[in-house]
Symmetry: C2
Subunit: 358 residues, 2 copies
Amino acid sequence: MDERLWEGNVRKVVPYTPGEQPKVLDVVKLNTNENPYPPSPLVKKALEEYDYNRMRLYPDTNSTVLVDALAEKYGVSTSEIFVGVGSDDVISMAFLTFFNSDKPIFFPDVTYSFYDVWADVYKIPYEKQPLDDNYRIVPEDYKKKNGGIIFPNPNAPTGVLESLETIEDIIKANPDVIVMIDEAYVDFGGESCIPLTKKYDNLLVIQTFSKSRSMAGMRIGYAIGNEKLIKYLNDVKFSINSYTMNPLSQICGAMAVKDDEYFMECNRKIIATREKTMERLEKLGFIFTDSKSNFIFAEHKTVDADHIFNELKNRRIFVRHWNAPRISNRLRITVGTDGEMDILITALDEIIGNYGKE
Amino acid sequence: MDERLWEGNVRKVVPYTPGEQPKVLDVVKLNTNENPYPPSPLVKKALEEYDYNRMRLYPDTNSTVLVDALAEKYGVSTSEIFVGVGSDDVISMAFLTFFNSDKPIFFPDVTYSFYDVWADVYKIPYEKQPLDDNYRIVPEDYKKKNGGIIFPNPNAPTGVLESLETIEDIIKANPDVIVMIDEAYVDFGGESCIPLTKKYDNLLVIQTFSKSRSMAGMRIGYAIGNEKLIKYLNDVKFSINSYTMNPLSQICGAMAVKDDEYFMECNRKIIATREKTMERLEKLGFIFTDSKSNFIFAEHKTVDADHIFNELKNRRIFVRHWNAPRISNRLRITVGTDGEMDILITALDEIIGNYGKE
């Protein structure tokens, strides 16, 4: 397309590329870390009971029903919770609100690929800190002067979990900036640092309903931190879009939180499937990190990731692969049901067995 | 609360204050321009047929079903449509994308009170252009050097409609910036400038499902413009939150668009109620603009707006009032059902009759 007169005034960015969402239904979808189990039956009930006439009204700007449920679940006050349209909305808003310094923000070189995209769109300077050879964070790297810190725990796409001691060490060294811990995958075997928010007023913990609560479609994320942080976040949110979360997400989200038993049961199943799948992958010649998430970050000893990725895709099995430094020979495989893992393992067995023979 | 060490790095803003959302149900709610009629019955059906199991999956990032329905309705290509979580989300994203100049953007002094909030949060310079004494836009004001232009048509909270000629005149004079026309209320008697997007590649038209489509709760807004504008908007959107719109909003939204007959019927009813209510208000001593929206912007000849506002509130009737220059003696009254208007008129008759006697 031609260059137009107004182009000089446009903010131009290289957008984030999300994992493929295949239009056909008969695929094994292990590429976007969705939960293989449906949401709680209480969610179904809430959906059925919703009176569609209420759609004509603006939603509750404070998402009271959802915030109340989260406050009870996590033992914090409602003034310590911020909710948004998925954790991407929450983190994006937190970048805009808290990463407002001239000094660079820090995050790992191998991590959620949205961080540098947000930094670019909001013109926030950043500096990536390299993980060590085992994909672990080097705490000393985060003790230099900076404008803020963010990393996921467990990290994505590695699945590696850092201890609360490591996190506390980093928070302590940075009292003058906000430290954000993105706990998208923490429910699959990690320990949350939410309790540390009582001790450190510069800690913001972000979680999501997209993975462990089986509600990626309903776009619900939240942040927990001291009430002053939450107030600043809400001020910015109310300066961008006062009414972000629709009533169905609010009500269904609250019901999902209330059904703690179902939640724990699904998490247990996914962890069991993950551990079993790891054993089977090991026998096929894969190496991987000790993932505490709902995905496995695997590399084959002899077969290229790129080859496996394409062969799986030919068999309608979708996993994730990045042509990025340090991880280009890795595959990120979402933990599905046991049945889905059987299909995956059978396919991998075939792909690896055939390798070099064609 | 005490000042913390990290406060210097926080983006601090004065947020937008939305109209009150009373928690109790037995009120006459004429303060946020919601539609008094429910959404199309096709929306109800779509909600009932939705399989809650699908919630576990991420939504279609392109909102294909909704964009397709809008493209058909407005006779444009799908690449000329951008959708967001309410028109606030769309406009906010458009500010960030297109108002990226050092020169001030222009909008009226009396207009939607979110424009200066967005400009502040994104650090966009702006200059308000005064409406004339009849709350009309003065086109010459918009022919000075600027970084972009936005106004609603019909304007809010005045309800005043500008002609397509006036709008075309302004667009023609500004080929080097983006001109945004916010048509939140256009379905209640205005003429849309969507056809002008074929002629001017710097025009972006924004509409919403919150008013004429009775779906404020589901948070759906959209912009129509040439495909290059839409591409830039999508690039920024995909740099902030790839998955913004949940599948229920996408499906229900598409169904609302398909039911054109129901949509036209509700609009006709609201227009008829507005005209009838204006006659009755005139008899009570009110003056008002010739509103082409679903609200009436009224001032009483002798009784203060503030007094009427509070007396209505005492009677559980909510309207909107701003303590802002040039409009502090006005009330913005949403057009509800005929029954709600009867309650309003009875109350106003009493309030005005009692005035000075207490």
